[in-house]
């Protein structure tokens, strides 16, 4: 038996790293929703593609003889970012841009269509069976040792994998925050979010900015895909749906349109899911129900989310 605090601590760490995956996807939802006001339903699929590219990248590195794990991981990260950027851009160009300014439902339907298409595209090209990846980073840092009642030592440790996930996410979030708050691209993006027509009048390339938003969202989803691949060690073509819906839940929970909110919502959803699975009776079967219940409750009592701005209906 391990003592209850170590169990709690393990759940906490695993909840946070899962939450980072959701948070990184949620940022994509929130950014796109903020700038074009639509749910990019295919974003979960972009994440799934990122995961697949990362997995294939590892095998490519292996095949050309670069088996050293740090290099392999960097290559996986870069390749999946680049490829995902192309997918994000194409998605916007093909499925959403022609419908800008049409009915609100039209892009949602193309998004669902794209999501179905991408799922089956990956299934056809890479097979339907789950694809495994061996744990790349074994071991961890021992934090402390506790004596359990039956007098054996139990070591509480944080694995290198989780440490790396947290470091990658934090570093990328810092870079991302810099892009949004300090660069011309970020300024253009925030301007388009407020008023596209005005932004266009002031010489901002609105189409380009929106495309860049999709690319940024897809790049972050690629990171989430890599983390997911490393963390679970097994992916299939269907992982995008549930992760996407949960990440959207996270975005709504944090307040859609708010970037820190998306990350906060992601971590909260990750924690709720992990703790529900870890503590509730038969929790692992019903953890998805718990997540959606949270969504419903939040929307009823605080429709703007935790960090969202109240939005005033105008006639």
């Amino acid at each position: 038996m391990q003592d209850s605090f170590s169990y709690f601590f393990n759940q906490l760490i695993s909840g946070i790293s899962l939450g980072f995956v959701y948070g990184l996807i949620a940022i994509g939802y929130t950014m796109v929703y903020g700038i074009v006001g639509m749910i990019n339903f295919a974003h979960g699929e972009i994440f799934m593609i990122g995961a697949f590219v990362a997995l294939i990248a590892f095998f490519i590195m292996d095949a050309i003889g670069i088996g050293w794990v740090p290099v392999a991981i960097v290559a996986m990260l870069l390749l999946s970012m680049v490829i995902n950027a192309a997918y994000g851009w194409t998605l916007e160009r093909v499925a959403y841009r022609p419908l800008r300014g049409s009915t609100r439902l039209a892009p949602l339907i193309t998004a669902i269509g794209m999501s179905i298409f991408l799922q089956n595209y990956v299934q056809l090209l890479q097979g339907a069976r789950p694809r495994p990846l061996r744990p790349l980073i074994p071991g961890g840092i021992e934090l402390w040792t506790v004596k359990t009642p039956d007098n054996t030592d139990y070591t509480v440790q944080i694995s290198y994998m989780e440490l790396m996930i947290i470091v990658i996410t934090v570093v990328l979030m810092a870079a991302f925050t810099y892009v949004i708050t300090r660069t011309p691209l970020g300024r253009a993006q925030r301007a388009c979010e407020q008023d596209q027509k005005m932004a266009a009048l002031l010489g901002i390339n609105v189409n380009g900015t929106i495309a860049a938003t999709f690319v940024l969202a897809a790049v972050l989803a690629a990171v989430a895909g890599l983390i997911y691949t490393l963390r679970y060690g097994s992916i299939d073509f269907f992982i995008g749906f549930l992760a996407g819906v949960k990440a959207f839940t996270a975005a709504v929970l944090g307040g859609i349109g708010s970037l820190p909110g998306a990350m906060l919502g992601g971590v909260l959803i990750g924690l709720i899911e992990t703790f529900f699975a870890g503590y509730a009776e038969r929790g692992s079967e019903y953890k998805d129900v718990a997540v959606f219940m949270v969504l419903v409750v939040v929307l009823i009592f605080r429709p703007t989310g935790l960090l969202g701005k109240p939005d005033i209906e105008k006639v």
């Binding site: 950027a85 439902l105 749906f241």
Partner: protein, 505 residues
């Protein structure tokens, strides 16, 4: 040929086509270029670079053709695309028909991709380009507005014709079992399409009339199906289909009201996500509550409906009579056939669907239906006129859910088996796609979209690997082509000037 051609900027053209090819390269290099395949004990990496090259070349030349078309060089495109189509055709046609064995051998060297379906698609694209160029059509973008207007006029015409075409189509549906004879496979497809038409009409009340975006419609379908399945198979209850049908509708409607009550205050997109979440909750609960729903194994042995106590089995159970025995006794001699039951099921679902259709058409003339439509158009104006938005939406939601429940119990009885697998999100998406593609609120549009989306893929079962892929593409394609739906035409139900006067402007 090049009367309206503009001078070409070759550099710009190469840049544009090159960019397209580059993007396609990025899209395909990893996912198409490499394949992870199971070999005993591990995963192995295989390459498919020729496919990547083919995709890039097709993208490059396709883009050039589109540019030429845009700049007015129709002749060049006709020749180029036509030649490409011809070359592809040699490789596609069976030797006996057209190509000689040697021609085939040469063709094998340049044919792109390995799957025949994909080759046919490339061929179709080339033919499309050539035909497009041959017909004197201007560029796509230039007349998007007039195209939209033409589509709207077509929608209006259809709506006008619908008054006569609707009943005619209904008659066709009634006569369908006669025409299809005893083709059991075809009847199954007809039942399936009819089920989706009914679901589409049911959801149309929620999405088309009331403007509420529901992504979890399948949850109510599931509630209806499980209501009947549980009532019919539980020891000691074992009620028949006809008793359970209203109950299934009632429970599904109740579920709709219960869900709707807290969430209907939310605006469009949020509502969509909450209903999606609700759909998932229902599925997860059905899957994990072994004691009640038998979990992922589902419920089997659900009885078939009877016709006034007449069974459709060959050997009727104790105290009942089989339909064919009864028919032979009272009318003329018939042999037992399994298709009788299919035909009966078809008429049940046709009747149910027509009830939904009738309700939707009548509701538009009633205060509640008008309130739904008004709410869809402008919620704030409705509120200021004293319409209670929440209650009005709730009725639409509940009524739509009830019809979903009816369809669900029919589904359970026609399949004889239900499991959570039948109620996944994709079903909701398909039903919503039927409604939206058909054109909101258009009853005929739903029929058309259901035939397109459900009937066509069923007809092409052989290429079933590509079925969902094509389904997704079709959803995107139709939406881009007709953003308002196939038969979209929104005419106000009430006009200020006297009815009968004045035509649609």
């Amino acid at each position: 040929m090049t009367t309206d051609a503009r001078p070409l900027d070759y550099g710009a053209m190469a840049k544009e086509a090159g960019l397209t090819a580059f993007v396609v390269l990025m899209l395909t290099i990893v996912l198409v270029g490499f394949e992870l395949r199971d070999v005993p004990g591990a995963l192995a990496l295989f390459t498919r670079f020729p496919d990547v090259l083919a995709a890039c070349l097709i993208a490059f030349f396709g883009r050039i053709a589109v540019i030429l078309l845009r700049e007015g060089y129709r002749g060049a495109v006709v020749v180029g695309a036509g030649a490409a189509a011809l070359l592809l055709l040699i490789g596609l046609l069976p030797e006996t028909l057209f190509g000689t064995a040697t021609a085939r051998e040469y063709a094998e060297a340049y044919m792109p991709f390995s799957a025949p379906v994909v080759r046919w698609c490339v061929f179709a694209a080339a033919v499309f380009l050539a035909v497009r160029a041959a017909l004197a059509r201007r560029s796509v973008r230039a007349d998007a507005k007039s195209r939209e207007a033409a589509a709207d006029r077509a929608g209006a015409t259809v709506q006008h014709v619908a008054r006569y075409a609707g009943p005619l189509l209904g008659l066709c549906a009634v006569a369908l079992p006669v025409a299809l004879g005893h083709d059991q496979q075809a009847m199954s497809v007809a039942i399936l399409v009819m089920t989706y038409i009914m679901l589409g009409w049911g959801l149309n009340i929620v999405v088309g009339l009331a403007g509420l975006l529901d992504l979890g419609y399948v949850a109510f379908y599931a509630v209806g199906a499980y209501t009947f399945a549980l009532l019919a198979t539980t020891e000691g209850i074992e009620w028949s289909f006809w008793v359970c049908l209203p109950l299934a509708g009632l429970f599904a409607g109740l579920a709709g009201v219960l869900l709707g009550f807290p969430v209907l205050r939310l605006r469009g997109d949020y509502l969509a996500i909450v209903t999606l979440g609700f759909g998932e909750i229902v599925r997860v609960v059905l899957q994990n509550w072994y004691g009640f729903t038998n979990g992922a194994n589902g419920i089997s042995g659900i009885p078939r409906p009877t016709l006034l106590g007449l069974s459709w089995e060959e050997e009727a159970p104790e105290g009942q009579m089989a339909f064919w025995q009864w028919f032979s006794k009272n009318f003329w001699e018939v042999q037992y056939s399994a298709t009788h039951e299919k035909i009966f099921l078809f008429y049940i679902i046709l009747g149910l669907a027509l009830v939904v259709n009738w309700f939707a058409l009548r509701a538009r003339r009633m205060p509640i239906g008008r309130a739904w439509e008004a709410l869809r158009e402008d919620e704030i104006a409705c509120r200021s006129l004293g319409i209670n938005p929440t209650n009005t939406k709730l009725t639409a939601f509940g009524v739509g859910a009830m019809f979903g429940g009816f369809a669900g119990s029919f589904f359970a009885t026609s399949q004889g088996f239900v499991s959570p697998e039948s109620f996944v999100f994709i079903e909701s998406a398909i039903i919503l796609a039927i409604v939206v593609l058909g054109g909101f609120g258009s009853q005929l549009g739903v029929v058309l979209a259901a035939l397109l989306l459900i009937g066509l893929p069923e007809a092409f079962r052989e290429v079933k690997d590509f079925r969902m892929l094509a389904f997704g593409l079709a959803m995107v394609g139709i939406m881009l082509w007709r953003p308002a739906g196939l038969l979209a035409h929104r005419e106000p139900t009430v006009r200020l000037n006297a009815p009968g006067k004045g035509k649609t402007p």
